[in-house]
Symmetry: C2
Subunit: 201 residues, 2 copies
């Protein structure tokens, strides 16, 4: 095949791809808030949520964040996002759950955090709500799943919600619009690399 | 089982979990920059990269971003991250690749973008380099993979790199420290929901 023929084919292929994308964009016409769930054992579930928060801020939107498990290392996001007036930020309780070792207290903290989440889910001035590690609190049964689903369902129609954490309950995935299973293929932590500022695992 | 027994078991389980985590943290002692690859067909690959950029900024670090494919909607991140003095930001070329429909031009733009990436990979004052959608440019063979791998290998030892895009080449995954396969389980776009500001798909 000559170089010219190859160029022609490349153009044709790209033209076809453009037509498919344009058609898909035309067909996708419903404007409403979506529920996005990032689950799985791999890295990036929370980071993707915080990336979406950054993107929303780039569009001049308002963002609410509730962190349901405060990790020892997950302080960079907090330090960063608390800087912005457009961000409401709440972190549940103290330290890792397995450092408090008191189920009753963990449950109380999670429920108090859910009260903060519910306030965001009733505020239509908040465009994006990030419920970081909510799946963990659900899995541990610190929160009542039907209550959570009900609060999600009755939120303002244009509000987007991002929910992260491994082990998302099936009922939550069923009501979600977008679900991504982030699978671990390889992890630096397991190869003996220390968790470090900026790339905590 | 009485409530008291249940509480004791809960404490024991949490204590054990804490011991395992502490041991893993002790064992992970190597401090060095890591290469993180986010690939797969699901949502969140780029968002996770931008979330890590936000986290790094939260730690007062410097960040470099090169976007290898400029999407029609991926403007929120750019608008947001360009605000910060600690961020160097470069976006390749114009519009989607399939809108230029000229392979030679696409290749030139990708190579010019790689020159910007290389400059970041030689600058030890940059703590985190995000090479967004690099995998696409590699897959389309706009860039020479061995050159890319060589530039990655000769970067400053403490510098972290995040590479995103579906279809990561095997040779790149082999040299990466952390690889996440982000799998699409469900996608709002396919259910007819329009891509919207703040949650572009």
């Amino acid at each position: 095949m000559s170089e010219q023929q190859s160029d022609v084919r490349y153009r044709e292929r790209m033209q076809k791809k453009k037509e498919i994308m344009d058609a898909r964009i035309r067909e996708s016409s419903e404007e409403r808030g979506v529920v996005i769930v990032n689950t799985g054992t791999g890295k990036g579930k929370s980071s993707a949520g915080f990336g979406m928060a950054a993107r929303a801020l780039g569009h001049g939107q308002r963002v609410g964040v509730v962190q349901f498990i405060k990790g020892k290392f997950a302080t960079g996001e907090e330090a960063f996002f608390r800087r912005f007036d457009e961000v409401t930020y709440h972190v549940m309780g103290e330290g890792y759950t397995w450092e408090t070792q008191d189920r009753e207290r963990d449950t109380e903290m999670a429920q108090a955090a859910w009260e903060r989440a519910r306030a965001l889910l009733r505020d239509e001035s908040v465009n994006l709500v990030l419920l970081d590690e909510l799946n963990i609190a659900l899995k541990k049964e610190f929160l009542d799943l039907p209550t959570v689903l009900e609060d999600l369902a009755s939120r303002p129609p244009m509000q987007h919600v991002v929910i992260t954490g491994r082990g998302a309950p099936q009922d939550l995935m069923d009501v979600a619009d977008t679900v991504t299973d982030m699978r671990k293929e390889k992890h630096a932590f397991e190869a003996g690399v220390k968790a470090q500022q900026g790339v905590e695992m």
